[in-house]
């Protein structure tokens, strides 16, 4: 086998990279609008799982702000009806679950009640911790319309609170309840900034 000089190899790799990158960027330009549209639609769909679409008329997906608190970044979408604030939808993540991060959406009404909570992503144990999903059980509905009062008593029953835990799985609901509670505290502290 004749070994070709290194410069040939380098040029060859350069040429191949050029062609492949060209192909990828062609496909990228052909799909990027569709992908952006998919992302927007998926986001809107998950936002509408925590707030009824008849309650707002603004461009929910684009009416967002980001706030830092306690080393955590929160993304907040603001629902408004004819310019008047209706609710804030706060995205939040907890790593206190059983297996990896759990992403939540928490909608809090301007009058200080929780509108709804939904779990977006999780990898909790199927059959045990996954009862936090609305598909699997109604547990997550126990947050609906809860006023943000006596927050220090927000805990699962085993920790002396009012929220049910699941048979065989306390860690997952505890993580969710704690996260919703922390997000509620964050909301109370920054309410003015959020609804600016």
């Amino acid at each position: 086998m004749i070994i070709s000089p290194p410069i040939h190899a380098a040029l060859r790799i350069g040429l191949f990279s050029f062609i492949i990158v060209g192909l990828v960027s062609l496909v990228y330009h052909g799909t990027k609008d569709k992908i952006a549209d998919n992302e927007r639609r998926a986001l809107l769909q998950s936002l509408q799982s925590v707030i009824d679409k008849r309650r707002y008329n603004n461009d929910l997906v684009h009416d967002k702000i980001q706030l830092q608190s306690g080393g955590q970044a929160y993304t907040i979408y603001r629902a408004r009806q004819a310019g008047k604030s209706v609710a804030a939808i706060i995205t939040s993540t907890t790593t206190q679950g059983y297996n990896g991060a759990i992403d939540l959406l928490i909608a809090i009404n301007v009058n200080g009640t929780i509108n709804a909570v939904r779990i977006l992503n999780h990898r909790e144990t199927p059959g045990l911790g996954d009862a936090i999903e609305l598909k699997k059980s109604n547990w997550v509905l126990s947050f609906n319309q809860l006023p943000l009062k006596n927050l220090d008593q927000w805990a699962v029953k085993r920790d002396g609170g009012n929220f049910d835990q699941f048979t065989g799985a306390t860690i997952t609901p505890r993580a969710i309840v704690n996260k919703v509670k922390n997000t509620a505290l964050f909301f109370q502290q920054y309410q003015h900034e959020i609804f600016q």
Binding site: I13, V24, N38
Partner: protein
């Protein structure tokens, strides 16, 4: 010529099945095979990758210098997978979200670089495409079998969420095999994947032995 093509097919689907014989690409195989539809989705994406990467490697094989062939294979495969990922992101968004990280990870499926090295870089375009198709179908076949096994035992259903792949008409394809309460949770957890794969390989070996017992012994040549 014809016998060559049928040999390529039978190698890919059975004798040199990438999942059950070569034991390549096990990471996505074990991770995604919890339902039939996930398995089928990843199987099809892998098949498409194999076909395209074999096609590109075979048609560019005069330009691939032997001493830099591996980086070039990696470059081609990474490009192909990125393109497939973009396409799925645009037109199969829900499935894309479920398969998630396993689409980019197709790059690391050794079966693909293996076929580029062993087959596509030494053969003409048509046989290489067929080899990609056969290897991909063999891999998908193993994935779907494992997926059915795990979905039936673990969730008591078959073809749940078929609409992710086949559109709205497939919403009612789901078959409830038995009640969810009596399902075996272990099957959809990671150990279930290992046990299922072990059983599949055992089944394949048993079938192979049965077939050999009825046939005169012929020396086997794998490529």
């Amino acid at each position: 010529m014809r016998s060559d093509y049928s040999k390529i097919l039978s190698n890919g689907l059975w004798h040199n099945n990438q999942a059950l014989v070569a034991l390549l690409g096990l990471c996505p195989l074990l991770a995604v095979s919890n339902t039939v539809i996930n398995s089928l989705g990843l199987g099809l994406a892998t098949t498409l990758t194999l076909i395209l990467s074999n096609l590109l490697v075979s048609s560019l094989r005069q330009f691939i210098l032997p001493e830099i062939r591996l980086p070039l294979f990696v470059l081609i495969i990474a490009g192909v997978v990125t393109i497939i990922e973009l396409i799925m992101h645009a037109w199969f968004y829900e499935l894309y979200k479920i398969l998630g990280i396993f689409i980019p990870l197709i790059v690391t499926n050794c079966a693909i670089i293996g076929r580029a090295e062993v087959f596509a870089s030494k053969n003409r375009i048509m046989p290489s495409i067929l080899d990609g198709l056969a290897m991909g179908l063999g891999f998908s076949f193993a994935l779907v079998l494992l997926g059915s096994f795990r979905e039936i035992l673990g969730s008591g259903t078959l073809l749940a969420q078929a609409d992710l792949l086949f559109g709205n008409t497939a919403k009612n394809w789901k078959i409830n095999v038995f009640d969810d309460d009596s399902s075996i949770l272990l099957a959809i957890l990671p150990p279930g994947a290992f046990i299922g794969l072990g059983l599949l390989i055992a089944l394949k070996n048993t079938l192979e032995l049965r077939l050999q017992a009825t046939k005169p012994v012929t020396p086997k040549v794998y490529e």
